[in-house]
């Protein structure tokens, strides 16, 4: 059965919420009453329940199967975290309540910040960024502010970005007025310090490096790169999207990083929720700490309070570059991440990183004979990157292969990213998968790979066959955008 849109089944007078009628009163809207009736149909509660339950059934989630989306870190989302985030003391407090009534909230933020600093070996953390890309923006803004403070705002306008960077990196740099200068990768998939040295100069503000990088490899020359960058008077921004591979194994602060965002939804298990909300705190080195945006929590003796404006910040010796968002950040995500960290503890977090790396390498080892590894069959970090060399001349593309995985009951891996390899397939199993689950996944991929070799092309080009939808026409969607429902023409499409 197909599920119609609410606009096709709702009725304008129907409502699933019982609201009391107020006693008669004199409105004070001053002539600005809404008169168009809004025009949104409602559903009774049982109808709404069924509608959204049925919609949900057309989705795939971590809870329903392995979700090997490289670079996205689809790990288990503990329900304890959900329960904790819903404690009235966290969920039902207003950001502008008096400080005396939210001391526990500040304590949690302060504790989480302390853990993040300990994990990363950094000196300060900006908690307010709302997502990873927002954290990137925060980090780069801090760098820009620091450069301006040194009087180099006019001269340092270039940011070095390796080819293998996340797409947000160049976008972020460009957004705040930097020019992007690409740095090519070595044949082994990592950045060559010599290439950085060649690209750097007094016009460079920063390098943006993802480490482990998007090829799933640890940048083994990262310390040397940091040295080059710092010697040139520039800053080292690290994309923390892949921090989950090295928690407890290495600290960005020890590697020379000046700023790094942390995706709480990747490394620390807050749910992805079909596209957010995320949370992207940014850890900062001594060189950047003063420039962190408002607001931030400080401790006055036994009490916590929030520094919310620049004058107050200046009294704390800070020079905030401004404000990234109203209020103080993603409290709901802070609680979840804190619950994750407390649950794992030092031993569990280190083990999680190791298991994530182990799982990725196991997948690599078990598929290396059938699928092609662009940088050779050597250890990877928490994700393993294949390219499409092995699909050459088979009539099957990376996309086809991905869609065929759907028919086998799997969410595909990340495809066509990173851009540095052709037809990329980036597999990140995460530490949440059991060996039995991986073995089944590997067997399935091997079976599919054999089917490719057998020339069973239709299994791929026509895929998915067994999903709520066959392949969708994305071109049509973009050429003739239909971005909202509009009342139907007299002859409407009936729900099947």
């Amino acid at each position: 059965q197909e599920e119609p849109l609410i606009f096709e089944i709702g009725r304008p007078e129907t409502t699933g919420v019982d609201v009391d009628e107020p006693a008669p009163f004199e409105p004070r809207l001053g002539g600005l009453e809404r008169t168009d009736g809004v025009g949104l149909p409602g559903l009774s509660e049982p109808e709404a329940m069924r509608h959204y339950v049925r919609l949900s059934q057309k989705n795939y989630g971590i809870d329903t199967g392995l979700f090997p989306l490289g670079s996205c870190t689809m790990k288990h989302n503990p329900r304890l975290n959900e329960r904790m985030a819903r404690l009235p003391g966290f969920a039902d407090v207003h950001p502008l309540q008096p400080f005396s009534t939210v001391q526990g909230a500040f304590e949690l933020m302060d504790t989480l910040a302390a853990w993040l600093l300990e994990l990363t070996g950094m000196q300060a953390v900006a908690m307010s960024p709302k997502a990873g890309a927002h954290g990137e923006l925060c980090g780069m803004m801090a760098i820009k502010a620091a450069i301006a403070a040194k009087g180099e705002a006019a001269t340092r306008r270039v940011v070095l970005v390796p080819d293998s960077a996340h797409g947000t990196n160049p976008a972020t740099a460009a957004l705040i007025g930097f020019t992007v200068r690409p740095v090519p990768a070595r044949p082994d998939g990592t950045v060559d310090p010599a290439a950085v040295q060649a690209a750097i100069g007094p016009d460079v503000a920063a390098i943006m490096l993802t480490n482990p990088n998007t090829c799933g490899l640890f940048e083994r020359d990262v310390v040397e790169i940091a040295r080059i960058v710092h010697e040139a008077g520039a800053y080292f921004y690290a994309d923390g999207a892949n921090f989950n591979a090295i928690v407890g194994k290495a600290r960005p602060g020890d590697l020379g990083v000046d700023a790094m965002h942390i995706n709480l939804h990747k490394t620390f298990s807050t749910p992805h929720g079909g596209g957010g909300p995320g949370s992207g705190p940014v850890v900062l080195s001594d060189r950047l700490a003063a420039f962190a945006p408002v607001p931030f929590v400080v401790r006055d003796g036994e009490r916590f309070r929030l520094v919310e404006d620049e004058a107050d910040a200046a009294r704390q010796g800070a020079r905030p570059f401004g404000r990234l968002t109203a209020f103080h950040g993603q409290m709901g995500m802070f609680v979840r991440a804190m619950a994750y960290m407390l649950s794992h503890g030092a031993d569990g977090m280190k083990q999680a990183s190791e298991d994530a790396v182990l799982n990725a390498n196991y997948v690599r080892a078990c598929l290396a004979d059938l699928m092609s590894l662009p940088f050779g069959n050597r250890p990877c970090m928490h994700e393993v990157l294949f390219d499409d060399a092995w699909l050459k001349d088979t009539g099957v593309t990376t996309l086809d292969f991905a869609k065929a995985m759907i028919d086998e009951g799997y969410h595909p891996m990340t495809v066509y990213f990173p851009l540095v390899v052709h037809g990329a397939m980036l597999v990140e199993p995460t530490e949440s998968e059991s060996k039995a689950s991986l073995d089944l996944f590997i067997a399935t991929l091997r079976d599919l790979a054999m089917a490719v070799r057998r020339g069973d092309v239709e299994r791929f080009t026509g895929a998915p066959y067994h999903a709520p939808r066959r392949r969708l026409d994305e071109t049509r969607a973009a050429r003739q955008p239909v971005l909202r429902w509009t009342p139907p023409e007299p002859i409407r499409e009936a729900a099947e």
């Binding site: 959204y52 404690l87 502008l96 997502a131 990262v222 590697l255 990234l324 109203a326 990213f417």
Partner: protein, 446 residues
């Protein structure tokens, strides 16, 4: 550790299959002198019970809104969220899914986004809306950048009624992008002369309604002037429930409507996560930031939904993207959509009316106090009081008595000489007893 399925036997088997001797062999690329033996300064793992105790203790140090008479607003509002909403957003298939990059197995997410976009556009009185932004303030910042792209001008004018934290977000973002921002002084009465600030150099004017002080703004004259000068009108709505009762910005000529959607479906959460609303006219859709869901068909001709116009997005165009945003506020927008679907027009209007009624009722009750003056002529569910004492001290004194009286303007506009002003919001959550408690409390401390 309860979250980690592997055991040591399996780990050993897997290392053998990989062909390395120890797990550290897989971390060999980390320079030896930088490798850490673990996290010696942090405690070890804790069972669920212990985590509940630790976090429960922190939570108990906060005062939940529902536990006291509560009149705090200024951009986030305490409303009732039906149990159905929270139940549904916790469905595994919604909660643990990713951005719908594989639309064939993400139609659930995509269809609700399409419903969300339709709802937001209708509420705002606009033609199209995106699939949500981080929150209202970041949506506001993005709206200004978008106006620059549309008009190819780089100067924004911010109303003095705009939430100062929103204004600060705009200034930060625009400042970093090296664009110009003119911010008018705080405008308590809602009567500032915006028209005078609009000329041919201005890309957009940003006006909030209801504004920070609770005033409803008639945007028509500003819209006309903007359009005459080639600028865009960006309207900001921080109380989404007002759409149910108040003429929407779209009907008053706004070109972009941004807003905070928290009031519908989402809790207070100490400020986040919230859900940013972003709506505009169809002609500007390709300049709009954020994700968009569009209708299409599958290879068998059945209706389906996909993310679309993603050439605007960073993961395709990298440094030529409209913004660096690569996520939306998925679960919060789902909560918004479900609550809005439960409400429908009828429920929304009734709920908005009840909010307004409670505010009027509170207004009337406060008028009995000689030390208090209500400054607003027209408002929705929030208004400004002028007190005979600094509002911050009054709020603290009442908080100590277990009453959350509202937001002192001085917290948002420090040093602006507005220390006597108090923002007071009243929603369907307030009872007669709550109002009586506030009035009695004010009587005591004023």
């Amino acid at each position: 550790m309860r979250y980690l399925p592997l055991n040591d036997i399996e780990r050993a088997d897997m290392l053998a299959r990989i062909g390395v001797g120890s797990i550290d062999d897989l971390f060999a690329d980390i320079p030896a002198d930088k490798r850490r033996p673990g996290l010696p300064n942090l405690p070890t793992r804790k069972g669920e019970l212990e985590v509940e105790r630790l976090l429960g203790r922190m939570a108990a140090k906060n005062t939940p809104a529902s536990s006291v008479p509560f009149f705090v607003g200024a951009g986030a509002y305490k409303h009732h969220v039906p149990a159905t909403v929270d139940h549904l957003i916790q469905r595994s298939e919604f909660l643990t899914s990713y951005t719908p990059y594989q639309p064939e197995i993400a139609q659930g997410t995509l269809q609700y986004l399409f419903e969300f976009q339709t709802q937001v556009a209708a509420l705002a009185g606009m033609e199209v809306a995106n699939a949500s932004m981080y929150d209202g303030s970041t949506a506001c910042g993005e709206a200004v950048l978008m106006a620059h792209r549309v008009t190819r001008r780089r100067k924004a004018v911010l109303s003095g009624g705009l939430h100062p934290q929103y204004a600060e977000v705009v200034r930060t973002l625009s400042g970093m992008a090296e664009d110009e921002v003119v911010t008018l002084p705080p405008d308590v009465a809602g009567t500032e002369d915006l028209l005078a600030a609009i000329d041919g150099s201005v890309s957009c004017v940003v006006v909030q309604t209801p504004d920070l002080f609770g005033n409803l703004r008639d945007l028509r004259a500003v819209a006309d002037k903007c359009h005459a000068e080639g600028a865009l009108l960006v309207a900001v709505v921080t109380e989404a429930l007002s759409f149910g009762l108040v003429t929407p910005p779209g009907a008053m000529g706004a070109d972009i409507v941004v807003g905070e959607g928290q009031s519908i479906g989402n809790g207070l959460n100490f400020g986040g996560p919230y859900v940013g609303l972003f709506a505009t006219r169809s002609k500007y859709v390709r300049q709009m930031p954020g994700r968009l869901c569009g209708e299409t068909v599958d290879s068998e001709g059945r209706r389906g939904f996909v993310l679309t116009l993603s050439t605007r997005e960073q993961h395709i165009r990298r440094d030529k993207a409209t913004s660096n945003i690569c996520t939306n506020s998925g679960l919060c927008s789902l909560a918004f959509t479900i609550h809005m679907t439960l409400l429908g027009s009828a429920g929304l209007q009734r709920l908005a009316r009840l909010n307004h009624a409670h505010a009027v009722r509170l207004h009337e009750a406060l008028e009995s106090l000689p030390q208090v003056e209500v400054l607003n002529k027209r408002y929705f569910n929030e208004f400004t009081l002028r007190l005979n004492k600094p509002a911050a001290a009054v709020v603290q004194a009442l908080a100590d008595k277990g009453i959350m009286a509202g937001v002192p303007v001085s917290r948002l506009h420090p040093g602006a000489g507005l220390d006597g002003l108090l923002l007071v919001a009243s929603t369907e959550m307030n009872t007669d007893e709550d109002r009586a408690a506030l009035v009695a409390g004010l009587k005591e401390v004023l």
